[in-house]
């Protein structure tokens, strides 16, 4: 949604046209759900948290300042709610969990392959393929999954991601790189099996064009 329209919509909501808030958040529902889901990994908790975040955004709409995008502001609320929920679920300090994961001394070299046969998106009609991809994402360490979701699923910019997570741009880049390499390493060998079978060699072609 263009920012000007959004600003106008927000002004109208604050002036009393409350129902417009439904339309304001509609474009961002998927983004908020996927991000919270990446953090909590549980459907029921995710849905409650998304609802809480949206209600909170409504109640605090007067505090929104137009210098940031509405989507970034909404995501900041959602991330905050998700972190709060995570603390309650895990009963541990998320920050110490973060510090521990930052120490994660993993191997971020990709899986070496000799060639790659592209897998078209139609292959996703197979639930098995989507499940394998989701499982690999779910296995990423928390900090990498969080950045990867904001960048590669929500398609936020590096700078926006850095602001939302309160880390430097370089940290965003490093975590994203590691997440992508871990996904490649885990998925490339598995996904090879989903490449379309090559067409049978048509020997008549070579006969006609020696």
């Amino acid at each position: 949604m263009p920012r000007a329209n959004e600003a106008e919509m927000i002004a109208r909501i604050l002036a009393g046209e409350r129902e417009l808030f439904h339309e304001l958040i509609r474009p961002y529902e998927r983004m908020v759900y996927l991000t919270v889901s990446a953090m909590l990994k549980n459907e029921a908790d995710t849905e409650d948290t998304v609802q809480d975040a949206v209600i909170k955004a409504y109640r605090n709409l007067a505090a929104f300042r137009a210098e940031s995008r509405f989507s970034t502001w909404l995501m900041a609320i959602a991330l905050n709610e998700a972190r709060g929920r995570l603390r309650r679920i895990k009963r541990e300090n998320v920050e110490s969990l973060d510090a521990e994961l930052e120490m994660y001394g993993g191997d971020f070299t990709p899986a070496a392959l000799m060639d790659w046969h592209p897998i078209p998106s139609e292959a996703l009609e197979s639930k098995e393929l989507a499940d394998k991809i989701k499982a690999a994402v779910a296995e990423l360490p928390f900090l990498y999954r969080e950045v990867w979701t904001l960048r590669d699923l929500d398609e936020l910019k590096t700078e926006e991601t850095a602001v939302l997570l309160n880390v430097s741009i370089q940290v965003v880049k490093t975590r994203l790189h590691r997440a992508r390499m871990l996904l490649q390493k885990r998925l490339a060998p598995v996904l090879k099996g989903f490449a379309p079978q090559p067409a049978p060699r048509r020997s008549w072609l070579s006969r006609r064009h020696p």
């Binding site: 009393g16 409350r18 129902e19 808030f21 439904h22 958040i25 529902e29 998927r30 759900y33 996927l34 889901s37 459907e43 849905e47 998304v50 609802q51 949206v54 209600i55 409504y58 070299t109 990709p110 899986a111 070496a112 392959l113 000799m114 060639d115 790659w116 592209p118 897998i119 998106s121 292959a123 996703l124 009609e125 393929l129 989507a130 991809i133 989701k134 994402v137 590669d152 699923l153 398609e155 590096t158 880049k173 994203l176 790189h177 992508r180 390499m181 996904l183 490649q184 998925l187 490339a188 996904l191």
Partner: protein, 86 residues
């Protein structure tokens, strides 16, 4: 300077995001022309990102949006009643 495979791997993510400078980009591309392994790694990484971004991979639960807007409606209604009482 000639890049080794492990150096190319370090920059794959930045290369995909087009955030390497022109000189490094040219070096990486020269390497890719002659290295099947690095080309396959780059292609597979891009392919994986393309598949993960597809709406069929991560789907929302059935009825998620309806439940969200229903809760929002009751919040808006309560809020309306409060402001009328003020």
């Amino acid at each position: 300077m000639k890049l080794k495979c492990k150096h190319v791997w370090m920059y794959i993510s930045d290369y995909i995001d087009n955030s390497v400078d022109a000189e490094l980009r040219a070096q990486i591309e020269r390497h890719l022309e002659n290295c099947e392994i690095c080309s396959a790694i780059l292609d597979s990484t891009r392919n994986i990102l393309y598949l993960t971004a597809d709406a069929r991979t991560f789907t929302l639960p059935v009825g998620f949006s309806e439940r969200l807007h229903a809760r929002l409606s009751s919040e808006l209604q309560d809020d309306g009643e409060i402001s009328r009482r003020k």
